[in-house]
């Protein structure tokens, strides 16, 4: 097992980071937080760079890279606290289209003509259980009625891959709905750059992507969405770590830089360990998914659960060790604090994923999935 980046992956990562340093500086994130930009320019730039196409098969005009590369991009987007629909598109929408062989739609995404997100969760729970949104098949497609909560980039994407239940058969299926056909209610005001929204469908016209037998494919999609969010959180946490470490090296109190105080040094060691271990598990999940290893479900649960621990420690110690300055709006730190914290609330909490693991290990009876 090798969890270090290959040379190609290292190059890709460096390239992404360089681009985002220029295209998504803290000033852009700030502008979106303060409502003076919608971040659209960033989307145009990443489209020009072909990033939405990264994980799309070559046959559909994509780059054809694997999930590890997609996860690396998700991580860097977290590190940049990037706004916009890219994360949802690469880690939720494209995986759905890939699973159901939607070549034409994939081509549209590859060309930057379409962004999308997965509309699955109802209430705060993550997963395929208790979905009550219904699909009614019509002559030319379907009509969707129901409500989806906390859709990632819901107010930013062009379209939704909606998981709904066929009114007649009761089977779960996946349906494409244009954003314009739905009512989008922005939520998540504390972290506006993620574009979270509740989405209400009231007989919205839809294209049928798959009408039945989608469970296994959707589980694979959920694993990708979850693992991308995991790396996204870790990217944000690593940024918090770096900012805090840098600050501790220059901030003077009691005539010493605070980073020379042993109690703080030990906390930095613990924070570093936490980020490294979450990252190692995150990469393990990514490569398990990329290689379609039987452990991919377990690995994605473990990684998201650990990312939860990671954000807990890093947000808390990052803010605490910054002292008052990190508490001010004018300091950039809060972009990553909020991003990391929001990540915990999305794609299933750490508790949710630990609970899934407990069931998988047979320690508790099967959770009602």
């Amino acid at each position: 097992m090798d969890l270090e980046l290959s040379d190609d992956q290292q190059m890709l990562r460096d390239n992404i980071r360089t681009v985002l340093t220029g295209a998504c500086p803290p000033s852009l994130v700030r502008a979106v937080h303060e409502g003076t930009s919608d971040g659209a320019e960033l989307w145009h730039q990443v489209v020009d760079l072909g990033w939405p196409a990264l994980g799309i098969r070559e046959e559909a005009g994509g780059v054809g890279l694997g999930f590890v590369e997609v996860a690396l991009l998700a991580e860097e987007l977290g590190r940049a606290a990037a706004p916009g629909p890219l994360l949802a598109t690469i880690s939720q929408f494209v995986p759905v289209l890939e699973e159901f062989d939607c070549i034409d739609l994939l081509a549209e995404v590859a060309e930057g003509r379409r962004s999308g997100s997965l509309a699955v969760a109802e209430g705060s729970s993550w997963g395929l259980h208790s979905i009550s949104t219904v699909a009614e098949v019509t002559a030319d497609g379907a009509r969707i009625t129901g409500r989806k909560d906390a859709v990632l980039a819901g107010s930013q994407v062009d379209s939704f891959a909606v998981v709904a239940r066929d009114r007649t058969s009761g089977q779960l299926g996946v349906y494409l709905v244009e954003r314009s056909a739905a009512t989008v209610i922005p939520t998540g005001a504390l972290e506006p750059t993620l574009g979270l929204a509740d989405v209400v469908f009231d007989g919205a016209p839809a294209v049928v992507l798959a009408a039945a037998g989608v469970e296994a494919a959707l589980e694979r999609v959920l694993q990708q969405a979850t693992t991308a969010m995991t790396l996204h959180i870790i990217g944000a946490c690593r940024r918090v770590f770096e900012l805090t470490l840098d600050y501790a090296k220059i901030r003077v109190q009691y005539d010493r830089v605070i980073g020379s105080f042993q109690a703080l040094k030990h906390r930095f060691a613990d924070m570093y360990l936490m980020v490294e271990k979450a990252n190692a598990l995150g990469y393990f999940a990514a490569v398990a998914i990329a290689e379609n290893d039987p452990r991919r479900a377990e690995a994605s649960h473990m990684a998201k659960a650990t990312a939860g621990e990671c954000q807990r420690l890093l947000v808390e110690d990052g803010l605490q060790l910054h002292g008052g300055i990190g508490y001010t709006w004018e300091n950039d730190l809060h972009f990553w604090l909020k991003r990391a914290k929001a990540g915990e609330l999305l794609c299933g909490s750490s508790l949710h994923h630990r609970s899934q693991l407990a069931a998988a290990l047979g320690l508790i009876s099967e959770v009602n999935v």
Partner: protein, 394 residues
């Protein structure tokens, strides 16, 4: 050990409750014109302060002429308990009432008491506390703001930061350096600075939650001239007075954190059932366990606080308060985190006001002030290790 107070104390409680019921400002009054900073005193608050003062309920432990009724420690405790639970703020200028006024009464001249302390007790003016500086956040001894004597005046230059309420306060209880040639803590004095003095510039610092309502400020002082008569106490005696001032603050601050924790816990218990209900059964037991841990902590905060109080009444030492500060702030923060994470994406909602609600990240982030300000948790651990446990300085 006993669970209940003396009956005379409980009678005192009832007396206050009865008065409170008849005299408290209405919820509508308060909501219509909320206090937006810790030195902002809306009209209803001015009237309320005066009413408390006149009835001897502003600082019950003080003599009647200073707004009190010579109450004992236990009476003061139950008074603060009931005041906190009532939902009515005792004051909208807590540092003014809690630190500045008692310091002035202890060290101020009759004229200073007349011109600054009494109007504050009457709800006419408010004060802020100028301690922290950019390079002296936790480290008062390192402050750099200079006051240079020039005839009958002092000339002030320097910068303060994290000054709560400076954007609304009428005057500042300012710590500044009056002798740069002696060891750090020996050359510090306290000067009363009217905030409308020319040369004073206040820049509010927006916070990471509800940035619309800043309470912290930077205060820039450029050739600010104040009368020499504004010196509080003796020249270069500020360090000792600071310790006295903060002791005033610490005296009953622990109780505020007990009440705050209990009110937070109350909100959590109201919130929890519906959240837990929505979880799959296996997650529910684990989430419930987290709630229970918070519940236990809220009781532990109370028990520890009351134990420390009993020691204080028997003549115990102040450093034990460091334990309460450390514990109560951490517990409340944990409660905020557990509640917000348990709630899911809805915790990201944001309301454009300063009020905190458990179960939101706004509450969680907002609470960090308590582990950072007024001596961070790290400082409290140092104090406990050195002052209480007798470990040597490193």
């Amino acid at each position: 050990m006993k669970l209940r107070f003396e009956s005379s104390v409980e009678e005192f409680r009832q007396e206050f409750l009865a008065w409170l019921a008849d005299n408290r400002p209405t919820a509508e009054e308060m909501a219509a014109d909320p206090a937006v900073s810790s030195a902002h005193c809306p009209e209803w608050a001015k009237r309320w302060t005066k009413r408390l003062f006149d009835a001897g309920w502003l600082v019950p432990g003080w003599p009647p002429e200073r707004g009190g009724r010579n109450a004992g420690a236990h009476e003061t405790l139950v008074y603060l308990e009931e005041m906190s639970r009532s939902g009515v703020p005792r004051t909208t200028n807590p540092q003014g009432l809690g630190i500045v006024v008692p310091s002035l009464l202890d060290y101020g001249t009759p004229d200073q008491i007349e011109r600054y302390a009494m109007p504050l007790l009457h709800g006419e003016i408010t004060a802020c506390l100028g301690m922290s500086e950019p390079d002296a956040g936790s480290d008062l001894a390192n402050l750099k703001t200079r006051a240079v004597r020039d005839g009958d005046t002092f000339v002030l230059n320097g910068q303060k930061v994290w000054t709560s309420g400076a954007n609304y306060a009428d005057f500042c209880f300012l710590f500044c350096r009056t002798d740069p040639d002696v060891p750090k803590h020996k050359g510090i004095s306290i000067i009363l600075l009217p905030m409308d003095t020319p040369g004073v510039t206040v820049r509010p610092l927006n916070e990471i939650v509800h940035p619309q309502h800043p309470d912290l400020n930077e205060v820039f002082l450029t050739d600010v001239v104040v009368p020499a008569a504004n010196l509080v106490g003796k020249l270069n005696d500020g360090w000792a007075m600071a310790n006295g001032s903060l002791a005033h603050e610490r005296g009953m601050v622990w109780l505020m954190s007990v009440i705050d924790m209990e009110m937070g816990m109350q909100q959590m218990l109201e919130l929890a059932p519906s959240i837990l209900e929505a979880l799959p059964e296996q997650e529910r037991a684990v989430a419930a366990d987290d709630v229970v841990r918070c519940y236990i902590e809220s009781h532990a905060v109370r028990c520890l606080g009351y134990r420390g109080f009993a020691r204080l009444v028997k003549g115990g030492s102040a450093p034990e308060q460091a334990l309460m500060k450390l514990f109560a702030s951490a517990s409340r923060q944990r409660l905020a985190r557990v509640a917000a994470e348990m709630r899911g994406p809805d915790a990201l909602e944001s309301k454009p006001q300063r009020s905190r609600r458990v179960g939101t990240l706004e509450d969680y982030f907002g609470i960090f002030g308590s582990t950072i300000s007024a001596g961070s948790s790290e400082i409290q651990r140092n104090i406990i290790a050195e002052k209480v446990l007798g470990l040597p300085r490193g």
